[in-house]
Symmetry: C2
Subunit: 333 residues, 2 copies
Amino acid sequence: MSEPMPVANRAKGGWISYRPQIRALDCTIRDGGLINDHAFDDELVRRVYGTCVAAGVDYVEFGYKASKRIFAPSKYGRWKFCSEDDIRRIVEPKNEAIRVTVMADADRTDYHTDILPREKSVVDCVRVACYIHQIPAALDMLKDAHDKGYETMMQLMAVSIVSERDLHHALELAAESPADAVYIVDSFGALYSEQVRDLTRMYLRALAGTNKEVGFHAHNNQQLAFANTVEAIIAGANRVDATINGIGRGAGNCPMELLIGFLHNPKFELRPVLECCRDVFVPLRQTMEWGYSIPYAITGQLNRHPIQAINMRAGQSPDDYVAFYDQMVQEES
Amino acid sequence: MSEPMPVANRAKGGWISYRPQIRALDCTIRDGGLINDHAFDDELVRRVYGTCVAAGVDYVEFGYKASKRIFAPSKYGRWKFCSEDDIRRIVEPKNEAIRVTVMADADRTDYHTDILPREKSVVDCVRVACYIHQIPAALDMLKDAHDKGYETMMQLMAVSIVSERDLHHALELAAESPADAVYIVDSFGALYSEQVRDLTRMYLRALAGTNKEVGFHAHNNQQLAFANTVEAIIAGANRVDATINGIGRGAGNCPMELLIGFLHNPKFELRPVLECCRDVFVPLRQTMEWGYSIPYAITGQLNRHPIQAINMRAGQSPDDYVAFYDQMVQEES
């Protein structure tokens, strides 16, 4: 849709070398928490944190700073709210090699009060998530967090249903914001590689000269989470999200064990991630379901939110793909 | 590694339109048969065949024409040998809209006797599979099948361990052969998208002016089977393999249900594939294992044959990823 931009695939072309600017963010606890209402116990969270440190991952994200007025603490696990004490219990004594992030949803966060001044917190970075109509709220949250001293990132969700015109406008505003990175978020797992490449180039152009990085957050509805993350990297994205064993709501996310295999930067270590998969995630699959299955492929192909597929997988007929497909096609407006 | 070649992504750029020259080949029974020694019963094979017809798939492959001198018929299912009678029992009365293929392995096929003259067979196309050192044998087999009246395709396996110099030579020979298509076969599931794109362009250049098509056969070791198939299509490949529900030895293949979602040619129908997944493949997973798991990711990352991962998954410690990783790294020569 537009002229190619000269970006090196890695440091130089091809896959032998690596680009040192690439930073991996682990959102195992945050996105995995969408499956169990953020109720992971400390032992598991501590193990994931230790795995990320050992693996050389750059950022680790524990959950949301959700408003306790909107979400009753009695109904959710603690990682829905990420209190300062809860995070400190996991990360202290703090390893300065890895940065701690929390996610703050637009219109669902009491950010003026719940996000502390940076010097009073072990959190390093606030990631503000919003839909296209929430951009003004997100910009105010980004300013608040930036003024408090945090690194900030902007996560514009469901980009696959945003018009190009609106996206250009959103990126103009993002370019003027204090966000240190702006993410392409494929909430529906709907994007094909050509779209990922074009979007990455569009974001890079819109943010050129601002020192802001472009990020990519994938979902695995069409078994494209890892592939699209690689595509975004090749096109120039330097911030990428992944989760251990690909855990995440619905079809899950880009698996960290695949991403590290691709990122040839020797600072990354695969073995700790494999240990964590073996010790924590194999048993976890007995009680939690995530990963590719056909209903997620259908919502991805149709560029729809996966919620109906998630409900279908949790219901009485999790394998009646035909009935689900018929329902989805009937509902297409 | 070389200058880009001007090929349209689809009919014209982008993903809205489609390229009518693209032909999908279903190798569910052939590649799935590598899991169960080709012992699928007629009912399942007939259902898969009917699904392919209803879905608008262009080719369907049932198995190998293996030598009965080398492989004892008492030890394998019938789709290891694909006798004329066995195929006729499935496909007759024959639907002319779908072409029937069999695979013939170099050095493992008594092709002079076991491949009948075309006019005596319901088979339409012979696919000759070989490793790089078997090219002369493969060329003789291709000539034999072509002279007997068949459409032919050449499958050069394990391309990820073939040197560029050898590959250029092999493609020169392929260009002079009677093969109607020449496939890139990622036997180890090791290729990343950049490599798929470069290989596809290399094949297209080598075969330019011959009217031969380039094909792509993926494996899902790194969750890249579908993504790489799309990449090959974008780069100009017009023959692509897939299997229903991604069945295939080890990590499996490109899932037909994903491929059809991407190929916007309205002749393809997703619904029959979903029916077959629900009715046949969900129950089949109770007794057969296929699809992504971490040991396959490790052999894919290391560009190794998946056989040790397959054995590990079938052994006593199918989830001890760390021990497997250590073993693989120790063995790297």
